[in-house]
Symmetry: C2
Subunit: 323 residues, 2 copies
C-alpha cells in the first residue's frame, strides 16, 4: 500500500515536508479531483470554475470535542471530516468539487494516523467526485482539523431563509443513528455496531441536496448539531414557526434497543441528535417530495416559539453548541 | 465602537451563536467583500467568479507556535493571519477576494480577543478589497486559526516550477525585519520598535505579485519560512540552482542595530528570516524589473546544491519547519 509506513514513526520523524510529500502521494492515488489546473505543492491551487460561482464552507474538528482517537480509527475520522463538509455543499443544493485541509497535530502523532486520516478523507471525497487540492500542517497540543470545501450549485442555492407558511417540512437520510452510536460509545459499549458505524462514518444523502433544489425546496439545512436545533435555524432564518410531528418517524430498531438499554426515549436521539448529516428542507405544500424524502412536519406563521413538537413546546435537548 | 464588549466576558459566556453574531457584525462593518451572493450565516457562502477560475490556499496558525498573546495584540494577530494568506495569492500573481476562518479557542478566551482578532483580520483584508465570507468556531485547548483564501489571477498563475538558467532572482518587499523583531521579542525587548511592528504586522507588497506576473516572472513564491528556504523551493521545483548574492542587499539600519545588540550577523535575519511575506521571483535575464523589485541573484543549471550564497554553501539557518 502506498501509504503504509513504519508504525513507530511520528509526524515529527517525517518532518513537515516529508509528511506533506506522503500526504500528497495518498491524495494523488485516491482522489486528485477534476478541473484542477494547479494542484498541491505551490503557494495556492488553481481551479477551473465552470458555473460562474463557487459555494464555499469551512468546518473545524478538534480532538476530544468532535472525535476521540480511541473511539474511531484515523480512516473513519477522515471520512467523517470530509462528510461533514461535503454535506454543507449538499445543504445548499450544490455538488462539492475541491477541499483543502488545515491540520494541526502534536509532534508525537503517529505519521500513519495522518496518512490513514488522509486516505479516509480522500476516499469520502471520491464518492462525490471531489478532490483534496491543498492544505497546511502545523504542530499543536491536540489534533485540529479545519476543512474548507468548494463546489457549485446546479440551480439556485437553497438558503435557510425561504420557508413560508403552508410549506411542508421534510427529511432525507438517517437521523439519530450517529447520536445513538455516540451514546453507546460514551457508556463504554461497542454495539449495536450499526449505530457505532453510523457515528464513525456518516452516510449523508449527497444526491438529495441538488435533487431537492431542482424539486423547488424553499429552504434547506443539513443536520449537524441536532434536528430541532437545525429546524430552529430554518424557522428563525425564514421568520416562520416549524412544527415537527413525532408520529411521522419510524423509530429504527437499533435505536429502540439502545433506548431500552440506556433507559432513554429513542425519539431523543432523533430529535436532538446530529452528525448523521441528514438534510432538512421545506417544500411548497403541493410539491411531490423527491425520492428519499419523508414529510415530518409543517410550516406555519411566526408564533411564540420558532419550533414546536406535536404542536407544543419541547423540553428535551435540541442540539449541541460548542461553548 | 461596534465591537466593544465587557472585558470580563469569555467566548463561553457569549456562547457559540452569540460569538458568531458579534463576529459577523464586525465583518459587516469592516470588510464585507464584493461579489458575495450569499454571505456568512448559511451552510455555505456563494461567490460570483468572473475569471473562470479560483486560486485557493489554506494556512494554519497555532498559539505558542506562530504567535503569543503576550507578544502581540489580538488585532495584530488578525492582521498577520490575513496577511500571510493574502500573500499566498499574491505569490501566484493573483488578487485575493474572499476568506474563511476556522477558529478553535479555549472557553476562557476573552470574547474581546476574538472580536479584536476579527477586526484586525477584516481590516487587513480590506486593504486589498477582500472580505471574510464564512467560517466556523470550536472549543480547543489553545487558539488555532486556519484561514482559507480565494482569489483570481489577472494573467496566468506564476508557479514555483518555471525558473530557467539565465533568469535573474529578484526580491520585493521588506526582508528580515520580522525575523529581527521576533529575535528582539525573544530576548524580552520591545525595540527597535520598527522591527517589532514589522513582526506584528507584516506589510506584504500586495501589488507586486500581479505586477510581476504581467512583467513575465517565470517563477514566484512568498517568503514565509525564510529566504533561502523559499529559494530552495523555487530551485527544486524548477530543477535549477539559485545563487543569492549578499552584496545585493542594503542591510537596513535597525537590523544592523539588532545584530550588534544580540551579537548576530544581521545578514542571518535577511537570509534565514520569514514572515515579512516579501516576494521572491525569477525573471528572464533581459526583462526590466518592475518597480520595487531588486535583483539579488542568478539562476544557473542544476548543480550539486539547489541554493548557494555568493557561489558557495551556506552554513547558517535557512528557514523554519513546523515539525
Amino acid at each position: 500500500m502506498a501509504d503504509a509506513i513504519d508504525q513507530d514513526r511520528t509526524v515529527a520523524d517525517l518532518g513537515e515536508f516529508g509528511l506533506i510529500g506522503r500526504i500528497n502521494e495518498v491524495v494523488t492515488a485516491t482522489a486528485p479531483g477534476t478541473d484542477v489546473l494547479v494542484g498541491p505543492g505551490d503557494d495556492a491551487a488553481v481551479l477551473r470554475v465552470r458555473k460562474g460561482h463557487v459555494v464555499v464552507s469551512t468546518d473545524v474538528m478538534v480532538e476530544g470535542r468532535h472525535f476521540r482517537r480511541d473511539w474511531a480509527e484515523a480512516v473513519d475520522v477522515g471520512h467523517r471530516a470530509a462528510a461533514q463538509n461535503l454535506s454543507d455543499i449538499n445543504a445548499m443544493g450544490g455538488r462539492a468539487q475541491w477541499l483543502t485541509v488545515g491540520l494541526a497535530a502534536p509532534a508525537d502523532l503517529p505519521a500513519q494516523w495522518a496518512l490513514d486520516f488522509t486516505r479516509g478523507f480522500a476516499e469520502e471525497c471520491a464518492t462525490v467526485g471531489a478532490g483534496l487540492v491543498g492544505g497546511d500542517i502545523s504542530r499543536a497540543d491536540q489534533v485540529m482539523i479545519s476543512v474548507t470545501v468548494l463546489g457549485a450549485c446546479i440551480v439556485s442555492p437553497v438558503l435557510r431563509t425561504g420557508a413560508v407558511p403552508g410549506d411542508v417540512l421534510a427529511l432525507c437520510g438517517r437521523q439519530g443513528w450517529a447520536a445513538g452510536g455516540l451514546a453507546v460509545l460514551g457508556r463504554g459499549f461497542r454495539s449495536p455496531r450499526v449505530l457505532v458505524e453510523a457515528y464513525r462514518r456518516p452516510e449523508p444523502p449527497y444526491d438529495a441536496g441538488p435533487g431537492a433544489a431542482e424539486a423547488g425546496a424553499t429552504a434547506m439545512i443539513d443536520v449537524s448539531d441536532g434536528l430541532l436545533a437545525e429546524a430552529r435555524h430554518l424557522a428563525e432564518g425564514s421568520g416562520v414557526t416549524i412544527d415537527v410531528e413525532t408520529a411521522a418517524f419510524d423509530v429504527p430498531e437499533p435505536l429502540v434497543a439502545v433506548g431500552q438499554a440506556l433507559g432513554a426515549d429513542p425519539m431523543q436521539f432523533i430529535l436532538g441528535g446530529g452528525e448523521d448529516h441528514s438534510l432538512l428542507a421545506t417544500f411548497p405544500g403541493g410539491v411531490a417530495l423527491p425520492e428519499g424524502w419523508v414529510r415530518i412536519g409543517t410550516v406555519g406563521a411566526r408564533g411564540e416559539l420558532p419550533v414546536t413538537v406535536d404542536g407544543g413546546a419541547y423540553e428535551g435537548p435540541t442540539g449541541w453548541t460548542h461553548f
